[in-house]
Amino acid sequence: MNKEVVCIVCPMGCHIKVKKDENLYLGYTVEGNKCKRGKEYGIKELTNPTRIITTTVKIKNSHLRRLPVKTNEPVAKDKIFECMKVINKVSIKAPIKVGDVVLENILDTGVDIVASRSM
């Protein structure tokens, strides 16, 4: 299995090549990454792709109607829409601090939804 992926870990967007190589400890060779996070990403993208979700939830008692939130860890790519359904049911009240958990352990993934700003 070979694959060319664009690393999305940071905005540099390195173009990296991942090749299967049974002889290696990691099982893959990775080329074109400017840093080691790219290596991890490349292998993961082949084996178990994940993404951070950023979205908003309803908030009351605030000058804005939506509070930006994110998953504190990446979740499996194919669970994104299921997560969105759950997140969209959340409604909270201000005040809230950046980093506060608004929803724990979403869909039993072990990942929390946290506030992206204080409000």
Partner: protein, 419 residues
């Protein structure tokens, strides 16, 4: 008349970083003026992550990045005014600003920092024929509606323009249950970051139609569809390639323009390539004591670079106030040669440069495996290899000042050369 050492116009990431840095460098009386109801600028609506990897070494969302600077500003005890609009500035740094609490205010500053950011181009700026139905939004406006006001703008969407805002909004609308039919891009390449094409379009199988444009908007009250067509090398629609796409919403992500109406009033001159003020190594404009940084100078795709540039502006403004900026010296001009769209700064006085001279630039086309060649008065002084260059990704090069030491150089040029 109110008096300050430094007044910063605009409380986005550029203004915040500049004010904080000026304070750290020993200037006390600083005022930040922001027309919005809160600080943070455009970042407050950019709820996606991808901010701060260079500055904080972690991946933050826009609001998180903003909050760090807002907290720091408050900790430093820097004064700021919200809901306050700057109406006019003059060459001798007199400012008129207005808010409901104080009415019209006249303020004088020893140094002024312009950090007003940019605004979006609208449909008027690109001239699409057809009716004027509801459902046509600029991508940034839609972003604000959805992310801050909680108002979903549509269900079936076409996006014109593949700059970062367009790409980010394609994913955002998809996550909120809309169907994004296509992103059409006039150019043969996307203007956005590659990572955004991957995680916003490819992840959700949204087609990116390069060399395509919208030639007509259909619908009376509400958008009912658009007609798209392929374009030739001269960006003219090719007859026979027209296709109708049904949709209820059209988002326009057709570029940002630095917001320089105020700058012009103070006599600052504008570079037609960046649409922002011509600045020197200290981020000072042609007008002494007036500095500029962030999107008002040139459109940035990474806030980290905004912060970097703005710190320089803040530090320089404080030096100016303290009388430490070297004003008289030979000026080196930077010159965007073959393949380079523009370079910031446009003017350099070496005495004000520390160890490294940093040049921000954008290339004109997509290049693979090339060299950026730096010449001083026609002579090559440095080359940088690059695997991948694209107009959507700003390039920064850092030159050791020692390369120019003792030389009487009047021109530094940068060009792209095949490897």
């Amino acid at each position: 008349m109110l008096n300050y050492d430094i007044v910063v116009i605009g409380g986005g990431p550029a203004g915040l970083a500049a004010a904080i840095e000026a304070k750290k460098n020993g200037v006390k009386d600083i005022l930040v003026i922001e027309r919005d109801r809160e600080l943070g600028g455009i970042l407050q609506q950019c709820i996606h992550n991808g901010f701060g990897l260079h500055v904080f070494n972690e991946e933050l969302t826009g609001p998180e990045y903003a909050e760090k600077f807002i907290d720091e500003l408050k900790n430093q005890g820097i004064e700021y005014m919200l809901d306050t609009m700057v109406l006019d500035i003059t060459e001798d740094r007199k400012i008129s600003a207005i808010n409901t609490e104080n009415g019209l205010m006249n303020i004088h500053a020893k140094a002024l920092i312009l950090s007003m950011g940019c605004r979006e181009r609208t449909r008027g700026a690109i001239n699409i024929p057809g009716t004027r139905p509801a459902g046509v939004f600029s991508a940034g406006t839609a972003q604000r509606f959805i992310n801050m006001e909680g108002y979903m703008v549509g269900k079936k969407v076409v996006i014109l323009g593949s700059g970062d805002i367009g790409l980010i909004m394609a994913r955002r609308m998809t996550l909120e249950g809309a169907k994004v039919e296509a992103v059409a891009e006039l150019m043969p390449f996307s203007g956005g970051l590659t990572r955004n094409i991957v995680q916003c379009l490819d992840d959700y199988n949204i087609p990116l139609l390069l060399s395509h444009t919208i030639i007509e908007i259909k619908g009376k009250e509400r958008v009912e569809g658009v007609v798209i067509a392929k374009v030739d090398e001269n960006r003219k629609p090719i007859p026979g390639t027209e296709k109708h796409i049904e949709c209820d919403t059209l988002l326009l992500s057709v570029g940002l323009i630095p917001e320089n109406e105020l700058s012009l009033k103070a006599g600052v001159n504008i570079d037609p390539r960046t649409n922002g003020p011509i600045v020197n190594e200290s981020m000072e404009t042609k007008v002494k004591g007036i500095f500029a940084c962030g999107n008002v100078v040139h459109v940035h795709d990474l806030v980290d670079f905004v912060t970097k540039e703005s710190k320089k502006a803040g530090k320089s403004a404080s030096k100016y106030v303290l009388g430490e900026l070297v004003e008289k010296e030979e000026i080196i001009k930077t010159n965007a040669d073959e393949g380079i769209g523009y370079i910031v700064p446009q003017r350099i006085r070496m005495s004000n440069v520390d160890e490294k001279l940093e040049l921000f630039m954008r290339v004109k086309d997509v290049y693979k495996n090339v060299k950026l060649v730096i010449k001083a008065d026609g002579e090559v002084i440095k080359e940088f290899k690059r695997k991948h260059l694209a107009p959507g990704e700003m390039e920064i090069i850092s030159l050791n000042s020692s390369l120019l030491e003792g030389k009487q150089v009047s021109n530094i040029s940068v060009s792209v050369k095949g490897a």
